[in-house]
């Protein structure tokens, strides 16, 4: 039995579907999926063209964590918990901006694996900024213009927020690390409570990259320390993905249309320098650099 069918409507090379297929495989399809409005929902759940091979629910953009809590509690009340784990699959907008029910889920510590599929903007509605859009990115609501060079706010630290809530398991991963996704989802499944996994998902359309470059670009996010791959258990950092030779951020930014203005506008240099400082701070904070002997 397949858990996520072929024939779905994602753009060729979409990172979301790679991530989702690995999440479902890690749980052997024994799960209940609650999905927020967004790309994943639109490409998979048109009436009569459903791609899901696991029980699935889409309610709204802004309430997915709460819907998942409801499933989890119903399974407890009905003594059907052994049927499977409850998993949220929500976009970065649904998670960091409008999805405030996330906090109730953490507070009450419902048994849910909350997965944020972070493609760093509202891609479904045409690439508007979200709380997880990184500094300097040009989106349609933070466009690069004569005065302002894209989003000038920072990327929200959802990992820190999840940890501050006391979440028993918090991790990041990437669609370009399928084995890492599977390991972390399996681990999360073995822990009781509200878990949070944030998966970086390259978006060919919104980021302006080619399918062939999805994996390269996704890896560069990790190798520049712009997307730290980390893992926390009960608030304690238990693993990080070390970087052998950390690359300058330009290498990551340059191939993507969403950052192109940084290379055409003379003031782009300052923005890139700031992005480099963000990467440096990440590397330091999590100890990402592999020390050379």
């Amino acid at each position: 039995m397949k858990f996520f069918g072929r024939g779905h409507g994602a753009c060729p090379g979409c990172g979301l579907t790679t991530a989702v297929r690995n999440v479902l495989n890690a749980l052997d399809g024994r799960c209940f999926v609650a999905n927020s409005t967004g790309c994943l929902e639109i490409i998979s759940s048109q009436y009569g063209k459903n791609a899901w091979g696991v029980p699935y629910i889409h309610s709204l953009f802004d309430n997915t964590a709460a819907v998942a809590c409801g499933i989890s509690e119903a399974l407890k009340a009905l003594k059907r918990e052994e049927e499977g784990k409850v998993v949220v699959l929500a976009g970065d907008g649904a998670t960091a901006d409008i999805g405030l029910t996330l906090h109730g889920m953490f507070d009450r510590n419902h048994d849910v694996i909350y997965i944020c599929l972070d493609n760093e903007a509202y891609q479904n509605t045409g690439h508007q900024q979200s709380g997880l859009t990184p500094f300097g990115e040009s989106t349609t609501t933070t466009p690069a213009g004569k005065l302002i060079l894209g989003k000038m706010g920072r990327k929200k630290d959802m990992v820190a927020i999840a940890i501050a809530h006391g979440s028993p398991y918090v991790a990041t991963s990437s669609a370009v690390l399928p084995a890492d996704i599977r390991r972390k989802v399996k681990k999360a499944a073995g822990i009781e409570g509200a878990k949070y996994i944030q998966i970086h998902c390259p978006c060919v359309t919104g980021w302006g990259i080619d399918g062939k470059d999805v994996v390269k670009v996704g890896n560069l996010a990790i190798e520049t320390a712009l997307y730290p791959i980390v893992e926390f258990e009960n608030g304690k950092l238990i693993s990080v993905r070390k970087i052998k030779d950390r690359k300058p951020v330009e290498e990551y930014l340059k191939p993507q249309r969403r950052f192109r203005h940084l290379f055409t506008d003379p003031r782009g240099k300052e923005v890139i320098a700031e992005i480099q400082r963000i990467a440096d701070r990440n590397a330091e904070k999590y100890g990402l650099d592999l020390k050379k002997e």
């Binding site: 759940s45 048109q46 459903n50 309610s59 309430n63 409801g70 499933i71 119903a74 405030l100 029910t101």
Partner: protein, 388 residues
Amino acid sequence: MMKVVRGFYSVAHAVKLCKPNVICAYPITPQTEIVENLAEMYANGELENCRYITAESEFAAASILVGASATGARTFTATCSQGLILMSEVLFNAAGMRLPIVIANPNRAISAPLSIWNDLQDSMALRDAGIIQLYVENNQEAHDAIPQAYKIAEDQRVLLPFMVCMDGFKLTHAYEPIDLLDQSVVDNFLPPFKPKAYMTTKKPLAFGCYAPPHVYMEFRVAMQNAMDRAKDLMEKVFREWTEVSGRNWGGHLEVIYPDSKLFVVAMGSIVGLLRKVVEDLRREGINLGLVKLRTFRPFPVEELRSYLGDAEKIIVLDRSISLGYEGNLSIELKSALYGFSAEIISMILGLGGRDLSKEFLENLIRNAIAGKEASGFKGAKDFEEVIP
């Protein structure tokens, strides 16, 4: 078992007897005591196979119930006013997903200005959501309404959310002697919730799929059909309830003195007072009847037309207003009685808990019948609006 209890307890007790699986709510006056009572029952282990969750908002509470109901759980929430409006995005959604969530709504005014007191503006705002709305007159009726709500909402031919509306404070906080139902009565009346389609790994269905233009409309037609079926089923369930409990609350309407030419139409606890008003006015020689409207959605058009078809004058007591037009109930009634000749006088009164005395209502009705009282706000003071 006869017991003097307050309105909120009469609801909480009835909910317990219906054996819900997931209860989830957020406090708001004057609803709070309903869930507090349920929380206490939960803490004392009186609710079996049940999870009680204190959500972080009404929006979350309703969302949690969407997940729970889709998973096959019998669900309950209570809210009103700001809480109901905060829930509204979810409740429209729940109706479209055909989830039979039962909601108790102790009606309360809407901010601004903030008011904790009673009128019907909150549930009127949810008029178009696809939720069945029943308005009760007293706490016994509220108590009895809960098992009936589950039976109707969960019926395969219906599957829509059901909201029991009871006046905030006026009913929720009033002491009344209530015949608290026996568990066995409810068990015999209300079958367990066994939906045919629900979220399970044994048959992985997808809920909440989106519908493109070639099929969206049909889903709305299906909801309208479900409302129509609910209308018939409700009559049946109301009758069945009378047999089971010995109490007859009427059908979608209760009509007192149906042979009259003059009528007052109202919903909720005000009907209790109107019963006395009508008796007294009849004693004065006024040929007045009373229509207690119980079911607001689905709207009982045929029943209203058959009872009010020959009426000459109908006085509608509206406790909410569609700002920019007129009283909500009047709008509905005029539409239902289109083509008939009755004059409909719309009286908007009692907003935000404004007191309604028997004398006040009597005078209004007397004058309206004498042609001396036009449609409009009643009982509002004269004022001049100034910008400070």
